[in-house]
């Protein structure tokens, strides 16, 4: 590719030929000075390279995805696919023959398709999208869910502490989390992992077992839970190319599932394996769905988006504990407001010997570990 463009254009077969007879000055014959007899054309150069390197010349990641040779028909089909969705929505909503319900459904789909980033929405817009999602669910399933969009409260910064001498490895937290947050049952997605570590060998996450099945606590082992640490300096937020994930005022790192493009950069950037990807459409049996939802929390996700622990935003912003904290029978999990000098989490940070994982990375997790 000889042209030095900063932007990307679809490579339809016909356009490429253009360059052979012209140059950057725009004239098609003689005079601009950039042509000389012994300069080879792009095509000649390409064939020469192919002849020497041949199949070894591989395209890099970006080109593999975007520089795909496709015939005109496929290209147009792909381009118009999303337009058709919109057009379909318009035609249904304008048609006299379709029912009221499908018209409303189409109207909702249309508005949801073109809504903005949640981070930039006003409170009225947030309420709008929440109402649409609730109505859409009602139209599709006949069931009513309760969804909210509470914002971060002033003077609140959420923090978490985990007592590694109390955890017995029962994994009740994992089950509670899955039920609370409507995680995909097919892929058995779980935000929390409990690592079974050998006593006296330090934290060796590569040797620890996070999927044990025997009586616990096992002799000579201790247990340590990891999940999203809601870093105050989150690397996952830095790398998101579309700003679909961000840190809220109360410290929660959240995702707008409708804005996420599924590139999984955040998954690669997270040093704690805190993020999960929906490789397939998440499925939860209707009667198991937790209908108390938050836009940024446990509402139903779709295929191809990221999700993770939100410290149960649907609960914590109402004053409740995350589901894992309430489910833990040993009291190993402590949650609270870091800005309240009288909170129990503050007492733990000030009076126990606390540490965080990979502190030297500067990610500033708001998740501390401590011992009795």
């Amino acid at each position: 590719m000889s042209d030095n463009k900063q932007w990307f254009s679809l490579n339809l077969n016909s356009i490429k030929k253009k360059s052979s007879g012209s140059c950057s000055c725009g004239k098609t014959s003689g005079g601009c000075g950039s042509h000389s007899k012994d300069q080879i054309s792009d095509e000649e150069f390409d064939t020469a390279v192919d002849a020497t390197i041949g199949s070894e010349r591989k395209k890099d990641g970006f080109d593999q995805v975007f520089d795909v040779q496709m015939d005109r028909r496929t290209a147009f089909r792909k381009l118009t696919a999303s337009l058709l969705i919109g057009a379909g929505a318009v035609s249904t909503s304008c048609s006299v023959t379709t029912g009221e319900d499908s018209k409303e459904k189409a109207q909702i789909d249309w508005e949801e398709q073109f809504k903005g980033n949640y981070k930039l929405m006003t409170d009225a817009e947030k309420k709008g999208t929440v109402d649409r999602l609730v109505r859409s669910y009602q139209l599709r399933t006949g069931k009513t869910i309760h969804m909210t969009s509470e914002n971060a409260e002033e003077d609140v910064l959420f923090g978490y502490a985990f007592n590694i001498s109390k955890c017995q490895g029962y994994m009740d937290c994992v089950n509670a989390c899955i039920e609370e947050n409507n995680q995909d049952r097919n892929s058995q997605m779980q935000y929390i992992r409990i690592h079974e570590m050998k006593d006296g060998e330090g934290f060796k996450f590569d040797e620890a077992d996070d999927n044990y099945y025997h009586e616990v606590p096992a002799e000579g082992h201790f247990y340590m839970g990891t999940q999203c640490f809601h870093c105050d300096n989150p690397p996952c937020v830095e790398v998101c190319p579309v700003q679909a994930t961000w840190r809220e005022k109360d410290g929660l790192v959240v995702i707008d599932y409708d804005w996420c493009v599924g590139c999984r950069y955040c998954m690669a950037a997270c040093p704690y394996d805190g993020r999960r990807f929906n490789w397939s459409t998440p499925e939860v049996p209707e009667k198991e769905i937790n209908k108390n939802q938050h836009y940024l929390g446990n509402r139903m996700r779709k295929k191809g988006v990221m999700e993770k622990c939100t410290f149960c935003v649907q609960r914590s912003r109402k004053g409740q504990n995350p589901a894992c904290v309430d489910a833990c029978p040993t009291g190993a999990r402590i949650f609270g407001n870091l800005l309240d000098p009288n909170s129990t989490i503050r007492w733990v940070l000030e009076n126990k010997k606390v540490f965080r994982l990979k502190e030297d990375l500067g990610t500033e997790p708001k998740f501390w570990y401590f011992m009795d």
């Binding site: 409260e153 002033e154 003077d155 609140v156 910064l157 502490a161 109390k166 017995q168 490895g169 029962y170 994994m171 009740d172 994992v174 089950n175 892929s187 058995q188 779980q190 409990i194 996070d210 999927n211 044990y212 099945y213 025997h214 009586e215 616990v216 105050d232 609960r315 914590s316 912003r317 109402k318 004053g319 409740q320 504990n321 904290v325 309430d326 833990c328 029978p329 040993t330 009291g331 402590i334 949650f335 609270g336 407001n337 870091l338 800005l339 309240d340 000098p341 009288n342 909170s343 129990t344 989490i345 503050r346 007492w347 733990v348 009076n351 126990k352 500033e364 708001k366 401590f370 009795d372």
Partner: protein, 212 residues
């Protein structure tokens, strides 16, 4: 002339730096602990409260040291309270009487050793409605943590501060914490071995596929 300009501009620069460098640069903090410390200086109550979750719960307010918080009421939860409905006489008289019956046969004491503890270490033989301290003082069933704290002092300190034990409903004030006997059976207080609540078969499959 040239010197003068250099001096003046030098002083000006220093003067400006004095103001610029000392200013807190908005959200920028050296560390998270600095941020927490600074932001909590002017902390005044949040709007969020857990009062509505506590409404239907019977709680009592306790003050221990500098900590004041709520714990669940206990006496109403004990199935056969009040104890004096059966234990109408002091215990030594009942044991020696003709109608002696073995009571509480289902309770087996698995707490410390037999040399160290028996029923009477905690229960008050003269007034079965009360517990007893090591020095023979009466302790109310609602404040049974006072009994436990005689031996388990470090756990008591952690519990008061909030590092040991669970909250009843939420993180938001007012603080309502569970008391010792809400998680530990006083006659058999340790946590037991059991199977984990979950086993992820998908993870097993994925890891096996990765190896192949």
């Amino acid at each position: 002339m040239n010197y003068r300009i250099t001096y003046i501009s030098g002083y000006l620069l220093l003067f400006m730096l004095l103001f610029v460098s000392c200013k807190h640069n908005g959200e920028e903090y050296h560390s998270l602990t600095d941020k927490i410390k600074h932001k909590s200086q002017n902390y005044h109550k949040t709007q969020i409260s857990s009062e509505k979750y506590l409404e239907d719960k019977e709680l009592i307010k306790i003050t221990e040291g500098e900590h004041t918080f709520l714990i669940p009421e206990r006496k109403g939860k004990i199935k056969s309270y009040a104890c004096i409905e059966c234990h109408s006489k002091p215990l030594d008289q009942m044991q020696n009487s003709a109608e002696y019956k073995k009571a509480h046969w289902d309770i087996k004491l698995v707490h410390a050793t037999k040399d160290m503890m028996d029923c009477m270490t905690c229960h008050n033989g003269n007034n079965m409605n009360k517990l007893t301290s090591l020095t023979g003082k009466e302790i109310d069933f609602n404040r049974s943590y006072k009994l436990c704290s005689q031996c388990h002092t470090s756990q008591f300190d952690d519990w008061k501060g909030g590092a040991h034990g669970k909250k009843i409903v939420g993180w938001a004030p007012p603080r309502a914490s569970m008391t010792c006997v809400n998680c530990h059976n006083p006659h058999n207080p340790s946590f037991k071995k059991r199977w984990p609540a979950r086993f992820n078969t998908q993870v097993v499959k994925e890891r096996k596929d990765e190896l192949e």
